[in-house]
């Protein structure tokens, strides 16, 4: 019954689990383009005259808010089942909650202790030990930046800490590579997503998951219908399916937090309630994006 073109920044294992299920369920063929959210937005913008994609899938919501003209708001059929705390914007539909966490390989830390907070990461003993994705290329890395700026008393204090972390970090071009480096023992600490870290842990890697004590962002990953989508109906069906109970249970299996209130989290993870919640402010992150990225660039220019 036709096809749907999906631009996805979702991790491989999520796509592998969900897409065949959707195809089986609806009979719609999925054409998937995988890339970082930055690259996907570039493409959407380049193609805006004649859109190719129908849905953008699993990107940070602020990215969508930031270029909302490229998208068409849509309310899924089962919108009621979604945790309202995870659904802050009209422009997009949450798909899963993404929790920022540290993945730590104690063996690769040398003399340094296992860090427990953002402030720890800014300490000099972690110099060169931290793996972090670039905030200008990875949506989750931008969340990390906004997260740090939000959990301290003043934004200046946040910048102070972030600058320290930045200086200690080795930047990686993609967020997927961060836990890989920690797993391989090339670096000691990775700032990453809980589910990515979980996969390594489940694979028996010598790593631990640590939640920063100041608070961590619990951010919904969003999806949205592309304005002028060639297969808009199939796009809607895709979004509907992804918030369905069946799909959300699969989400849990691969280690992600569900958005539905009627689905439980993965048992290998601590309950969401025990995670120090930063009360991450999406609107602020979206509104200040230009300013924060300019500042980020300045740090980059300073440091290198």
């Amino acid at each position: 019954e036709g096809s749907v073109v999906v631009y996805s920044a979702a991790p491989e294992q999520l796509v592998e689990a969900l897409v065949p299920l959707f195809e089986e369920h609806t009979g719609i063929d999925v054409e998937l383009i995988r890339a970082g959210s930055g690259e996907l937005m570039n493409r959407l913008r380049a193609e805006s005259g004649r859109p190719v994609a129908d849905v953008i899938f699993s990107v940070d919501g602020t990215v969508i808010d930031f270029s909302s003209e490229l998208f068409e708001p849509y309310t899924p059929t089962e919108a009621d089942a979604i945790n309202p705390a995870l659904s802050p914007s009209e422009n997009w539909v949450p798909f899963t909650a993404v929790v920022t966490a540290f993945i730590v390989n104690p063996e690769a830390l040398g003399d340094a202790e296992v860090p427990t907070s953002w402030a720890d990461l800014a300490k000099p003993e972690y110099e060169g030990l931290i793996s972090m994705a670039r905030a200008d290329q990875s949506g989750s890395a931008y969340i990390q930046l906004a997260n740090v700026l939000q959990v301290f008393d003043t934004e200046e204090e946040g910048w102070e800490i972030y600058r320290g972390i930045f200086a200690n970090s080795v930047l990686s071009t993609s967020s997927g590579a961060v836990p890989r480096f920690v797993n391989d023992g090339e670096q000691g600490v990775g700032i990453t997503l809980e589910d990515a870290a979980l996969r390594y842990k489940l694979g028996d890697a010598p790593v631990e998951i640590v939640y920063p004590s100041e608070g961590t962002a619990i951010a919904p990953d969003g999806m949205a219908l592309v304005a002028g989508a060639p297969n808009a109906d199939n796009g809607r069906a895709f979004i509907d399916f992804m918030v369905s109970k069946q799909a959300q249970e699969v989400v849990v299996e691969v280690g992600r937090r569900p958005v539905r209130t009627d689905v439980e989290a993965n048992e290998a993870l601590i309950p969401l309630s025990e995670v120090p919640d930063a009360q991450y402010d999406f609107a602020w992150a979206a509104d200040n994006r230009d300013r924060l990225m300019d500042e980020w660039n300045e740090i980059l220019f300073d440091l290198y």
Partner: protein, 559 residues
């Protein structure tokens, strides 16, 4: 007599000849698919990144901000050192294999070629797996308390580039050394030079054109490669990593800074090329080949040393490929290698990636078919028709060597997203960019074989009554066939491994293997990336084998 002359046919309008039409068609293709995209990229770099005003502000920014100037220096330093490193490996290796009897010389040469055509990007990760802080080799030596130098930073990048690009120097120098007139070396010896003096006073200057051409290729590739410095740089910024980061930045918009930086890279490459041309223009080396060099047998002791060096170098350079091959057979549990061997990774790529595999082969094959036809015709124009157009064509075909794939791709997007040329997102745009980027390989091969075919053979056909088009089809093409096939293989190998431009142009329907490998690698999915890479290496290896089998000067066909 005069009456016969009068009754002769009156002068009549002559239709443009076959070759005139072909020349026009080729010129049009190159104008649209080469010059137009490059021009549109060039134009972009003059619009201010923020304000959109026309001017030099981007260049001012790039040339004054410390961040960019440091990167510029890093780039030049990495390019230069890698070029020197590759020469220090490539020249001695070429000397050994061309002047001494090396057992299994073919193996050395084959490995050198395989190094050239190993899949892009994944190699740098393989180096980390071996020599990283927790790499296999590092740990092995660590057990004995031996500290291996870090693979990170500029030294690591330079080392990796030297090992990755030395085959260009090796292959070019080797072929030059084995066709150099031995009389020169005899003369030097006769005039009192010992072996070493002979090498640096006579032999080396004589192969300078080949060495420097190889070196330029190394330099250009080293400054355009973004994968290796991105992975091994650890904070070292180069123009290529910045260009790529800027292009893929979340902020989106027109990739103005990326383009400006790329222009700088092109300018550096161009400067290097012009410098080399300038040096070469003051020398001329044509000489008759009356006295071919011979390979000497060495006494046992020295022979062992030489063999160890030759095999050591190519083995070291092949290490990442071996690592990738090995990795592809490891059993996996999610992203983690669970210990032991298994075919999980292959099972996964067969399940998930048939589209990419299909695409890779289809696109490369179609592009190669087009390249073969075009290069046959172009080489005829370049070699046989000695006029302004042919000279320009020859020069124009150097351009794809100098333009990084990412720039070409940005140019394609900028040029072909408006009607009537709206082909973004189609297979056609990928095939076209493969065609234009790999065309020089085909043309170079056919041109060199056509130069060896005496024009009198074609004239003989015309003289016997065959029209120009028929002569080309029945005489020129069959004679060019070996060159056409080698050219086709070369463009196939390079087209199927193309990453930098397709990465920007691909869509779900048009994803290719190298792109998929890239995506997998940055997602940390090593197993599948390794399996895909191995598949690519095997298909490339088969082509290499065919080229070896068909071409006279074997390895020389690859440079």
């Amino acid at each position: 007599m005069s009456s016969t002359t009068l009754s002769g046919p009156a002068p009549r309008f002559r239709l443009p000849g076959f070759w005139t039409c072909v020349t026009i068609a080729i010129a049009a293709i190159l104008a649209i698919f080469l010059i137009l995209p490059i021009t549109s990229v060039f134009v972009i770099s003059f619009f201010d990144a923020r304000t959109g005003e026309f001017g030099l502000s981007n260049y001012v920014q790039v040339l004054t901000r410390r961040f960019y100037t440091t990167a510029l220096w890093n780039t030049v330093i990495i390019g230069t050192l890698s070029m020197i490193g590759a020469s220090l490996i490539g020249i001695p290796l070429a000397f050994c294999t061309s002047r001494f009897r090396i057992k299994g010389r073919a193996i050395v040469a084959t490995f050198a070629v395989l190094v050239l055509v190993s899949p892009p990007f994944i190699g740098a990760y393989a180096w980390i797996m071996l020599f990283g802080a927790n790499g296999a080799v590092t740990n092995f030596f660590g057990n004995f308390g031996i500290q291996i130098p870090s693979v990170y930073g500029i030294p690591g990048i330079v080392a990796v580039f030297s090992l990755k690009f030395f085959p260009y120097i090796y292959l070019m120098t080797e072929s030059a050394l084995s066709t150099i007139n031995k009389s020169y070396e005899d003369a030097a010896e006769n005039l009192g030079c010992n072996a070493f003096q002979r090498f640096y006073k006579v032999t080396l200057p004589l192969v300078f054109p080949a060495v420097s051409t190889g070196a330029i290729i190394c330099f250009v590739l080293a400054i355009a490669d973004f994968g290796t410095p991105a992975i091994l740089g650890r904070g070292v910024q180069t123009l290529s990593t910045i260009a790529y980061a800027q292009y893929t930045s979340e902020m989106g918009g027109t990739p103005t800074m990326a383009v400006t930086i790329s222009m700088l890279m092109i300018a550096i490459s161009m400067a290097a090329l012009l410098l080399q041309r300038h040096i070469m223009s003051t020398r001329r080396y044509a000489s008759a080949l009356t006295n071919l060099p011979v390979k000497k047998s060495l006494p046992m002791g020295r022979s062992v040393l030489v063999h160890a060096f030759c095999y050591g170098v190519v083995f070291l350079a092949m290490l990442p490929s071996f690592t990738v091959l090995y990795t592809s057979f490891l059993a996996t549990s999610g992203p983690v290698f669970s210990g032991g061997f298994g075919l999980d990774s292959y099972a996964r790529i067969l399940r998930d990636s048939p589209q990419a595999i299909m695409n890779s082969f289809t696109f490369a094959l179609i592009a190669v078919a087009a390249i073969s036809i075009a290069s046959g015709l172009i080489s005829f124009i370049v070699v046989r028709r000695d006029n302004a157009v042919s000279g320009t064509l020859d020069l124009l075909l150097m351009v794809p060597y100098l333009i990084p794939g990412i720039v070409m791709a940005i140019g394609f997007v900028a040029t072909f997203r408006h009607p009537p040329f709206d082909i973004t997102g189609t297979a056609l745009i990928i095939i076209l960019i493969l065609f234009i980027r790999r065309l020089p390989y085909g043309v170079r091969s056919t041109t060199s074989i056509l130069r060896q075919i005496k024009p009198s053979i074609e004239e003989a056909a015309v003289n016997l009554g065959a029209s120009p088009a028929k002569t080309f089809a029945t005489v020129t093409v069959p004679l060019m066939m070996p060159g056409l096939i080698v050219g086709a293989m070369m463009s196939f190998i390079t087209a199927i491994n193309e990453l930098s431009s397709t990465l920007i142009l691909y869509t779900a329907r048009t994803i290719t293997m190298p792109v998929l490998i890239y995506v997998q690698v940055i997602n940390g999915e090593f197993g599948t990336a390794a399996a895909l890479s191995s598949l690519l290496m095997v298909s490339t290896g088969i082509c290499v084998f065919i080229v070896f089998w068909l071409s006279d000067r074997k390895e020389a066909a690859f440079v």
